[in-house]
């Protein structure tokens, strides 16, 4: 079980809250696509998955992968299939923006082998989309998702809650709209003010009110309740799925499976180390033209591996499985957990630690409390 991620670092315009790596100039798209193919070849040699390990998921993320032409998309898929052992039933996800969707493109994507769409809706309200500086309109959001639904079963949409302008009522309506469109998977993110984003500057300049943590937790609590009542399983902090529609690709991240990320800024993981490519399109292209993957690597110590496990697993509905944790560590972990169990934020059951709904609001602090320390 392994995954391949491809980062397509281009966007039509910059959303104010976004801190992903992307460029709004499409000038070097052909060179970048070529470089990605070269990287796929090199990565397969340099970071081979263990023999017999097939690639079960491919994920085109970004940036905006829906800016790829059919030819480019096909080239990339061919390269990945050519260099890696891709399972014929692999989940192949394409992130798309509503403004790029049309009947024609939907057909293209389907015919190219894409079997899951992740649509960057963010909101069904025009005012919201405008201050976010999204490229699409509320009307497009509604109509294009509807259209996409005719061609794809397996669809997820992104929604953002807790923003300064979004009322409780509007948030409820966003969720109802998603349900009405019969979307089987939702990624719902609390608006996060990342450093060095236009949003951050706007807040500091007083042009936009700062996010209100009380509103965010209200929206989150509502979301959890709503999901339960409407048949969505809350399987990760920000992810909700109807039965059978969990994202296999993202689930692999959370289960600690290996993955290779291709493209500028993409991250890879082999169970013991993480490495990531340079976050600069030009430098990335130049380096691959020279036949080198421009990456930096970090080896994880045993403690770091364990801490990542704690941090990630607690975010999932499956929880942290204690059965693989050595007994000494397990005792220590349970001791640290007790305070949070008493506070009703954690439950220990069936040899697993899971967050309660209240606990999910405080997941970071709780994880930090359970972390182990490097022995010096």
């Amino acid at each position: 079980m392994a995954g391949i991620y491809l980062h397509i670092p281009f966007c039509k315009q910059a959303c104010h809250y976004c801190n992903f790596h992307f460029s709004t100039s499409l000038h070097y798209k052909p060179e970048l696509v070529a470089a990605l193919q070269e990287e796929a070849r090199l990565a397969a040699e340099q970071f081979p998955f263990p023999p017999g390990e097939a690639v079960h998921t491919i994920y085109f993320g970004g940036g905006t992968p829906s800016l790829l032409t059919l030819a480019e998309l096909t080239q990339l898929l061919t390269a990945v299939r050519g260099h890696f052992n891709v399972d014929p039933d692999a989940e192949i996800t394409l992130e798309v923006n509503p403004d790029d969707i049309s009947e024609e493109r939907l057909k293209e994507w389907r015919d190219a082998g894409i079997n899951r769409l992740s649509i960057g809706v963010q909101s069904f309200f025009e005012e919201e989309l405008r201050w976010m500086n999204r490229a699409h309109t509320a009307k497009q959001a509604l109509e294009q998702v509807k259209k996409a639904r005719e061609y794809f079963n397996n669809i997820t949409i992104d929604l953002i809650y807790g923003g300064p302008g979004l009322s409780d009522e509007q948030w409820h309506q966003d969720l109802e709209q998603a349900k009405a469109l019969n979307i089987p998977h939702l990624s719902c993110y609390a608006l996060t003010v990342e450093p060095q984003t236009p949003l951050n500057k706007m807040i500091r300049a007083g042009k936009v009110p700062d996010v209100d943590p009380d509103k965010q937790s209200r929206h989150f609590l509502y979301l959890m309740q709503w999901a339960k009542e409407n048949g969505y399983e809350h399987y990760e902090i920000s992810n909700f799925a109807r039965p059978g529609y969990r994202s296999r690709h993202n689930s692999a991240y959370w289960q600690g499976k290996s993955y290779i990320g291709l493209g500028p800024s993409a991250h890879s993981f082999d169970g013991k180390s993480r490495w990531w490519n340079i976050a600069n399109n030009q430098a990335y292209i130049r380096s691959l033209q020279e036949g080198l993957i421009p990456f930096e690597k970090e080896e994880l110590t045993g403690v770091q591996q364990l801490n990542e496990r704690i941090m990630i697993a607690l975010r999932t509905a499956d929880g942290l499985d204690l059965s693989h944790i050595p007994s000494l560590e397990k005792t220590q972990l349970l001791k640290a957990a007790q305070r949070h169990i008493d506070a009703g934020h954690l439950v220990a059951q069936e040899n697993k630690l899971r967050l309660t709904d209240e606990g999910r609001l405080l997941a970071d602090g709780i994880a930090a409390d359970l972390f182990f320390e490097e022995i010096k």
């Binding site: 991620y5 993110y189 609390a190 996060t192 943590p213 009380d214 965010q216 937790s217 989150f220 990760e236 902090i237 920000s238 993202n250 991240y253 959370w254 993955y259 990320g261 800024s265 993409a266 991250h267 890879s268 993981f269 993480r274 990531w276 970090e298 770091q304 801490n307 990542e308 941090m311 990630i312 975010r315 506070a343 934020h345 999910r360 609001l361 405080l362 997941a363 970071d364 602090g365 994880a367 930090a368 409390d369 972390f371 320390e373």
Partner: protein
């Protein structure tokens, strides 16, 4: 011995002592160009970061005089900041002469005068040097007049130099040899060596620095520390170059080091005399005056179970800082720790920093206070160094607080600002005099508690740096002092209690609550912060419960960034102390010092 000179460099802070020392070392090839850097003797990280000297530093120079004779010069560079004046006074005891530096652009400042008097008390030959004459603002003649006025020397006795350019350095070296007397003493007499400093080294154990008055120390000698009566073998003796340099023997008149098998830091006392076991001296050398701490604060390990380790580190640190005093104390909130006496707030900060950097301790320093005297209705007199010792007001007749005499030298245009500042701090103007037409000296009597915390910073900002300041204690006077308690969720936190003048108490309580609200992290429940005098709550703040602490996205690229963030958060928590159910960060205990930020 006639070819030895022992001297130190003294001055007001920043007048260029360490830089001048650089030039002396460089021009005599004591330090190679490869080893040379600015203020090379400031070898502690903290000294380099802060750009000031904290410890005196001894180093030996070989110098060929203009007449061709070879001389050994033992130089001690000293700190200029008031908080480290004990370092200066010990250095003086190892010397026969002192270079008194005066910055040509600043003229005589408060610590120029106080350090000069220290040197005169020690019978040192003073060589006045006007330094930084390369600077545009140098006022050589004016400063010459000031010096003549102050020490009554002749104009031609005053040297001119620049530590930056090296100008005048040859003249300084020649004057050291010509004007400072050679040490007296008899290398054949019974050994008398004065311990003026020591340091703990994790490889070598305890290293002791001394100045020999009489006799000779040889490698392998059996030596005795007079005050403890303990005998040791001299495993290694030597002199201080940039590094320690081993010698077979060190003789009368010289400054050197000795390494013995001493394990226990308590056995070494600065001011003690070293002699030979088989031929002991009859009279130990008169040691140093005991230090009088100005400020007291508690130092506690963040983790209660690290107390023993902290004790060991305090002992070791004290080897290298004889001005640090401490005794055991317990706090309900913090457990076992030490009540420490410091010479000032900078000293306190340096001690905390050194414990963390050199000894890897994570400590909490509690609210500092001066020491008060309480007279009880039963007729007892109680020294109060700690708010928890503050007696019940109904059983207290009166309280006295320490006063100081403050000397401020400034330009006439700042008199108004300084008056406002000092009167606001309960100061009384005692004397005001013009030193020259452009320099005024103001003398105030003020409560010590008003100046130890932020006075110096305020003074600097009120005078754009054109004021220097020195003070000394002048005894105790009546005071109206109250004890202010802080309660977190109803629980009194003794480590946050402060002793405060009654007229300021309410305002202080309000500000302290506000500051704590800023410094305490939100927790999963509400926190009530209250300030109270006795049973009366004078201020209150609430910190509402944390509602949300969860990152939205955790995909491939987010994971390691996220883990590092949480690890850091966890590391931060280690610097917090759990009091009741509230986690209190290290810096909250010093909130009092930042009330005006």
């Amino acid at each position: 011995m006639k070819n030895i000179r022992n001297f130190c460099i003294i001055a007001h802070i920043d007048h260029g002592k360490s830089t001048l020392a650089d030039r002396l070392l460089q021009s005599t090839n004591t330090i190679s160009d490869r080893e040379m850097m600015d203020q090379v003797l400031d070898d502690m990280d903290l000294e380099r970061e802060k750009g000031i000297t904290i410890k005196s530093h001894a180093i030996q120079i070989n110098y060929r005089h203009t007449d061709g004779q070879e001389f050994i010069l033992n130089l001690i560079d000293t700190p200029g900041h008031v908080d480290f004046s004990y370092e200066v006074s010990r250095a003086l005891a190892a010397c026969e002469g002192a270079l008194l530096l005066v910055d040509a652009t600043q003229g005589i400042q408060a610590q120029t005068i106080s350090n000069l008097y220290l040197a005169i008390e020690n019978d040192l030959e003073i060589i006045p040097v006007i330094n930084k004459i390369d600077m545009d603002g140098a006022m050589i003649e004016e400063v010459q007049d000031q010096i003549i006025e102050l020490i009554g020397c002749k104009p031609e006795d005053i040297l001119l130099a620049s530590g930056r350019t090296g100008l005048g350095i040859e003249g300084v070296l020649a004057a050291i040899v010509d004007r400072i007397p050679a040490p007296k003493g008899d290398p054949e007499a019974p050994l008398q060596a004065l311990i003026f400093d020591s340091v703990f080294n994790s490889f070598r154990g305890i290293i002791v620095y001394y100045r020999i008055q009489n006799g000779t120390i040889r490698k392998g000698d059996k030596v005795r520390f007079v005050s403890t009566g303990q005998d040791y073998e001299a495993d290694e003796v030597g002199i201080l170059k940039l590094k320690m340099t081993e010698k077979k023997e060190v003789k009368a008149g010289d400054v050197g080091y000795i390494i013995t098998g001493i394990k226990n830091a308590k056995e070494v006392k600065v001011g003690d005399t070293i002699t030979l076991s088989n031929r002991p001296t009859k009279e130990p050398i008169k040691g140093f005056e005991e230090v009088k701490p100005m400020v007291f604060a508690g130092i506690y390990p963040v983790n209660t179970d690290e107390f023993e380790e902290l004790r060991d580190c305090m002992d070791k640190l004290q080897l290298n800082d004889a001005s640090l005093t401490y005794e055991l104390e317990t706090s309900q909130a913090l457990g076992f720790g030490f009540r420490c006496g410091f010479l000032g707030m900078l000293h306190m900060e340096i001690i905390q920093e050194r414990l963390e950097r050199e000894f890897n301790q994570t400590v909490i320093t509690t609210v500092p206070n001066v020491s008060f005297i309480a007279y009880t209705t039963k007729g007892e007199k109680v020294m109060v160094n700690n708010p928890s010792e503050f007696p019940d007001p109904v059983k207290t007749e009166r309280i006295e607080e320490p006063y100081i005499r403050a000397q401020i030298i400034t330009k006439p245009e700042y008199i108004g600002n300084i008056m406002t500042l000092c009167l606001g701090k309960r100061g009384i103007l005692i004397n005001q005099s013009y030193l020259t037409t452009t320099r005024v000296e103001l003398i105030f009597e003020m409560p010590l508690t008003e100046i130890v915390f932020d006075f110096y910073d305020k003074l600097k900002s009120q005078t754009r740096g054109y004021a220097s300041f020195d003070y000394h204690a002048i005894g105790y006077r009546d005071a109206l002092i109250s004890k202010m308690d802080i309660l977190l969720n109803g629980e009194k936190v003794d480590a946050l209690s402060a002793l405060i003048h009654r007229s300021r108490a309410e305002d202080f309580g309000r500000k302290l609550c506000e500051k704590l609200k800023e410094l305490l992290p939100r927790q999963q429940f509400q926190i009530a912060i209250q300030a109270a005098i006795g049973a009366k709550v004078v201020a209150r703040e609430n910190i509402s419960a944390m509602r949300k602490d969860v990152t939205a996205k955790c995909y491939g690229g987010d994971i390691s960034r996220k883990r590092k963030l949480l690890e850091k958060q966890k590391e931060g928590k280690k610097r917090m102390r759990q009091i009741g159910n509230v986690e209190v960060p290290q810096e909250a205990f010093l909130a009092v010092l930042k009330l005006d930020d």
